[in-house]
C-alpha cells in the first residue's frame, strides 16, 4: 500500500480517530442522539480539520522553526480564530449552510480531534500532502463513528433496556463494542 493510501485507511479505520485514539469524544457522546445532527457535525469537523492541517503545516514549516515551545499556544489560537472566520464566512455567503452547520462551529474549537490532528501530524512529521490526507481520513473517520453511534442510539431509544442501565453507562459499553468491531481492521496496512 502506498504511503498516502495507508495514512488514509489507517486514520479512517485501523486507528480510527474516535474509536481507537479517543479523539473527539465530546461530540461522540454529546451530539449523537440524532443521526441528522451527527453526520452534519462530522462534515463540519472534517472541513475545519482540513483547514487546521493546512495551517498547522504552514506554522510548523515557516513560523515555529525557531520557537517550537510556542506550538501548543499557536495551534489553539489559530484553531479558535480559524473557526470564528469560517463561521463568519459561511454566515455571509451561504445562510442555508449556516443554518445547518453554524450552531456546531463554536463546539468544534474545544474538540480534541482538531488540536489532536495538528499535534499528531507534527509528532509524525507529515509533509503537506500527508497532512491533508491525514485530515481527510481523520475527519471522515470521525463522521463515520458519529453516524454509527447515532444510528445505534436512535435504535436503542426504542429498545427495552432496564431502567438502571439507561444513561451514559450503556452508551459507553456500546462504544466499546463499536471500538472492538474496528479492531478487526488491524493488519490492513501490511501486505501479506
Amino acid at each position: 500500500m502506498s504511503n498516502l493510501a495507508w495514512i488514509f485507511v489507517s486514520t479512517l479505520l485501523v486507528s480510527n480517530f474516535t474509536l481507537a485514539m479517543f479523539l473527539g469524544l465530546c461530540p461522540f457522546f454529546g451530539v449523537t442522539a440524532k443521526i441528522g445532527t451527527a453526520w452534519r457535525l462530522g462534515v463540519a469537523n472534517t472541513f475545519v480539520m482540513l483547514l487546521t492541517a493546512l495551517s498547522a503545516w504552514t506554522l510548523n514549516t515557516y513560523v515555529l522553526t525557531q520557537v517550537p515551545f510556542l506550538r501548543t499556544i499557536a495551534f489553539i489560537v489559530v484553531i479558535a480564530s480559524g473557526v470564528q472566520i469560517v463561521e463568519m464566512a459561511i454566515k455571509k455567503f451561504s445562510p442555508v449552510l449556516f443554518r445547518q452547520l453554524g450552531i456546531f462551529l463554536p463546539l468544534i474549537t474545544t474538540n480534541c480531534a482538531i488540536l489532536g490532528l495538528a499535534l499528531f501530524q507534527t509528532a509524525r512529521q507529515y509533509t503537506l500532502a500527508e497532512s491533508i490526507v491525514f485530515a481527510l481520513g481523520g475527519g471522515m473517520g470521525l463522521t463515520l463513528a458519529l453516524s454509527l453511534m447515532a444510528s445505534i442510539r436512535e435504535r436503542m431509544d426504542v429498545a427495552d433496556v432496564p431502567v438502571v442501565a439507561r444513561g451514559m453507562g450503556l452508551v459507553l459499553v456500546v462504544a466499546s463494542v463499536l471500538s472492538m468491531a474496528f479492531m478487526g481492521f488491524a493488519g490492513m496496512g501490511s501486505a501479506p
Binding site: 499556544i73 489553539i76 499535534l119 438502571v164 462504544a175
Partner: protein
C-alpha cells in the same frame, strides 16, 4: 442564583452575576471529588481519561499534570477576573490554560522523560480538556483566588482519582500488575482486551453502570425507610 434577584449585601462588595453561592472551602474542595466529579459524574475530559489510562503510571501522571494546569489556570483567571474584559474572556482563558499546559509539558519532559514520551501528544491536549475551560469560566472567573484554588484542588483530585480508578482496573486486569509490579502471579492469563482501546470504553461504562446501580439501591432503601 439568578442575577439581580436580590441586591448585593453591603458586606459582600464583590458581587458577580451568576457567581456560585458562598460556601466553605472544604465544600469547594469536596464538590470536585465526589458530587460533581468531572469524569464520573459530569463526563468531562473523557479523551485523556481513556486514551492514556492503560497503565496506572500514565493515569497518575495525566491526573497530576491536569491538576497542576487547573491550579495555575484557576488562580490566574481568578486573579485577573476584574482586568479581563468580558468580550475577550474566552480567548484570554484559553491563552492562560495553553501557557500552563506548555509549562507543565516542558517540566514533565525534563524530569520524567519516559512518562512524557508515553503520554505524547495527549499531554498538550489538556488545553482542550473541556473541564479546565469549564471551571475557569463557570467558577474561577467569579470568585476570590482562595476559593478558585480550593475548587482546582477538588476538581484536580477528583479527576486524578477517576483516572487512577480506570487505569488501575485496566492495568490490573490487562497485565496482572500495578505500577509495573506483578500482583496476580504467573498463572493469571492477562485480559489483553482491557489495555486496548475497547477496554477503556468498557471500563468506564461498567463503572458508570455500577454507580447507577448503587444510586438506585440507595434510592429504594430511602423510599422503604420513609
Amino acid at each position: 442564583m439568578t442575577a439581580g434577584a436580590s441586591p448585593p449585601p453591603a458586606n459582600q462588595p464583590e458581587f458577580v452575576p451568576g457567581a456560585p453561592p458562598p460556601a466553605a472551602l472544604t465544600t469547594d474542595i469536596w464538590r470536585g471529588i465526589a458530587r460533581d466529579n468531572p469524569v464520573l459524574v459530569q463526563l468531562l475530559g473523557l479523551c485523556p481519561a481513556m486514551a492514556v489510562t492503560n497503565t496506572l503510571a500514565n493515569g497518575l501522571a495525566m491526573g497530576t499534570a491536569t491538576m497542576l494546569v487547573l491550579l495555575g489556570s484557576e488562580l490566574f483567571v481568578s486573579l485577573l477576573r476584574k482586568v479581563i474584559p468580558h468580550e475577550v474572556r474566552i480567548t484570554s482563558y484559553v491563552l492562560i490554560i495553553a501557557t500552563f499546559v506548555t509549562v507543565v509539558d516542558l517540566l514533565l519532559a525534563a524530569t520524567f522523560p519516559d512518562i512524557s514520551k508515553a503520554l505524547g501528544p495527549f499531554m498538550p491536549l489538556i488545553v482542550v480538556n473541556c473541564m479546565v475551560l469549564g471551571r475557569a469560566e463557570a467558577f474561577a472567573a467569579k470568585v476570590r483566588p482562595v476559593r478558585a484554588m480550593a475548587d482546582a484542588v477538588g476538581m484536580g483530585l477528583g479527576f486524578t482519582l477517576a483516572l487512577v480508578l480506570i487505569s488501575g482496573l485496566r492495568e490490573l486486569l490487562g497485565m496482572g500488575s500495578l505500577l509495573g509490579a506483578n500482583l496476580l502471579g504467573p498463572n493469571f492469563e492477562p485480559w489483553v482486551f482491557m489495555v486496548m482501546p475497547p477496554g477503556g470504553f468498557l471500563t468506564l461504562g461498567i463503572i458508570l453502570l455500577c454507580m447507577a446501580w448503587f444510586t438506585d439501591i440507595r434510592r429504594r432503601r430511602a423510599q422503604e425507610a420513609a
